[in-house]
């Protein structure tokens, strides 16, 4: 069923056509501003209105801005960016925080690991084989790798039990494992580059040399362990097995070599990181968090210039942008969490229409 300018449309309405007639008595609630919009939606040519597909808030009629960039804040366990994308038929005009905004070297082990870890999402969003895939990303992968490694060290250096990285203990072990696998790909790329420098008789930067040394010392044991970790599993579930106890110190050595390198690269790439302390655990988390935000702001601004219609992110990130004047010009933010202003508004409006339908 549907409404146009607040009036529910009945079967005899003279504006009905072949596309809109079947919608007069079906179940979904749709509220259009005009008949032009109703006809366009029925013809699947709109990208800003639609019904949420569920399982959260199933059937809720949502309406985003029809021309400007929409910045959608999600909770991964409720209404997700995936579901919103389906609802409004946003096609390929989006950037998403899950995807990397970096151009990763073709043939690199970093790229291979990234592809393995994100295969399902890349296929779902239809960009697994897309050219310029980084244009769908909103965040650099490097601060995420650094952040994951810093978190991991707290469990490997004894400050937290490794068992707390198991599935039974929560969720931290899952993203930590994902970014460890990607970090290992990057570490092996760095080791290859160091080998090439050595073969050519060129000087090797010390931070790269330290990573290459860890890779050389532990490839025989770390490579089969890390590359054998099942996608989306929890690091603690394997690391606590007696057969893998020896991997803990090796992983800590890897993290302790990689973190300073990533900090140095961040400082080289992002002027906004100048002076940012990165000596201890809390400082390093903050350092990688700031790097991510600086890069994110650039990606979103660039997407806005390209007239990209949607940016998907965690709602807390949206909130941060809103509170810090970080929203792109002319963009519109939507808090789509279950107790978020916009989803509640959409739900209430949908419920009211259903209540008053005849």
């Amino acid at each position: 069923m549907f409404w146009v300018a607040g009036v529910q449309i009945d079967p005899g309405d003279l504006n009905l056509n072949g596309a809109t007639t079947p919608r007069v008595r079906d179940a979904p609630i749709r509220a259009y501003d005009t008949w032009v919009e109703a006809t366009a939606h029925a013809a699947n040519t709109t990208d800003y209105i639609g019904n949420l597909p569920g399982p959260s808030s199933t059937g809720t009629w949502v309406r985003f801005h029809d021309a400007h960039m929409n910045v959608l804040g999600e909770d991964h366990t409720e209404v997700t960016f995936r579901q919103m994308r389906t609802a409004v038929n946003m096609g390929a005009s989006f950037i998403f925080e899950r995807f990397a905004s970096d151009v990763m070297p073709p043939g690199s082990q970093l790229l291979a690991a990234y592809d393995v870890e994100n295969a399902v999402e890349l296929v779902h969003f239809g960009i697994n084989a897309a050219p310029n895939r980084h244009l769908y990303g909103s965040e650099s992968i490097y601060p995420k790798i650094g952040f994951g490694l810093v978190l991991m060290t707290e469990y490997l250096n004894g400050n937290n039990p490794v068992a707390h990285l198991c599935q039974a203990a929560g969720y931290t072990g899952q993203p930590v494992q994902r970014y460890l696998k990607i970090a290992w790909g990057l570490a092996r790329d760095i080791a290859d580059q160091v080998n090439a420098l050595n073969l050519a008789g060129n000087p090797v930067p010390p931070l790269e040399a330290a990573v290459a040394l860890v890779v050389a010392n532990h490839t025989a044991t770390l490579n089969p362990y890390i590359t054998g970790l099942v996608v989306d599993a929890w690091l603690g579930d394997t690391l606590t097995l007696p057969a893998n106890v020896a991997r803990g110190p090796e992983l800590l050595a890897l993290a302790n070599a990689m973190i300073p390198l990533l900090c140095a690269r961040g400082l080289a790439q992002e002027p906004g990181l100048a002076g940012q302390a990165h000596g201890n655990f809390a400082q390093r988390l903050a350092f990688f968090g700031l790097w991510r935000d600086l890069n994110f702001a650039q990606s979103v601004a660039a997407a806005n210039v390209r007239n990209i219609r949607y940016a998907g992110m965690g709602a807390l990130h949206l909130q941060y942008l809103q509170a810090n004047a970080g929203m792109p010009a002319n963009s519109h933010g939507y808090d789509m969490r279950s107790v978020g202003a916009h989803l509640i508004g959409f739900e209430n409006a949908t419920a009211l229409l259903r209540l008053n339908a005849h």
Binding site: D75, H76, T77, E97, R98, E139, K144, F147, G148, L151, E154, Y155, N160, P161, H164, L165, C166, Q167, A168, A169, G170, Y171, T172, Q174, P175, R178, Y179, F281, L285, A286, F288, G289, R292, D293, M313, G314, A315, L316, H317, Q319, Y320, Q322, A323, N324, D335, R337, S338, V339, G340, A341, I344, G345, N348
Partner: protein, 197 residues
């Protein structure tokens, strides 16, 4: 409830990702059926409410690297929500200035966390002094499924008279926990201005 006149300051601390999360300080005002809740830690209404209404009792649980980074974002601003029992809608002002209305039953649990509910058939599990008051301890559990796995959260309440002074939720499978404690409780100090939107 007509004689309610109380202001409570609360400290909410969480550990849901292996490291302590940011602290949140709340102020709750009740005057009769009317209430006002303020958070000055930059948290949106959703997050303040999730601390109370999330099924596991642990508030927002980060599940991705983005979540883990997001919960450490340096937020700022003030959230205020106002409402009244028996009135359909209340008002929320988010830290970034957006003002919106929500059904009272969405808002009232945040203010209502100060008062015990559903304990009529629960036997006390102990007694303790807290905030210079004699408290009765109640221990309950929340069970369910999250991400395909069973969970069991232990909920420990310290109740002094009509007030819940401590709500401590612990995940029995791991280190996640949420602690919401009243740090100051003042009766008879709330005025009309405190609960007026």
């Amino acid at each position: 409830m007509a004689d309610r006149n109380v202001r409570a300051r609360m400290l909410v601390t969480r550990n849901v990702s292996g490291t302590p999360g940011p602290e949140s300080k709340l102020t709750l005002w009740w005057l009769g059926d009317r209430f006002h809740v303020r958070d000055e830690a930059g948290r949106a209404f959703h997050d303040v409410a999730t601390d109370v209404v999330a099924p596991r009792g642990l508030g927002f649980i980060p599940r991705t690297i983005e979540d883990l980074m997001n919960v450490r974002l340096p937020l700022k601003g003030r959230m205020d929500c106002f409402g009244a029992l028996g009135v359909a809608e209340g008002t929320i002002t988010e830290p970034w200035g957006e003002k919106w209305k929500a059904r009272t039953d969405r808002i009232s649990p945040v203010a209502g966390q100060l008062f015990p509910a559903g304990l009529e058939s629960v036997r006390p599990s102990g007694h303790e002094r807290f905030l210079n008051r004699d408290c009765v301890e109640y221990t309950t559990h929340r069970e369910g499924t999250d991400g395909g796995r069973q969970y069991r959260s232990k909920v420990r309440l310290l109740v002094a008279g009509p007030y819940v002074l401590l709500r401590e939720v612990t995940d029995e499978g791991g280190p996640m926990r949420l602690r919401a404690e009243v740090t100051a409780l003042d009766e008879g100090v709330v005025t009309e201005a405190d609960v007026k939107a």
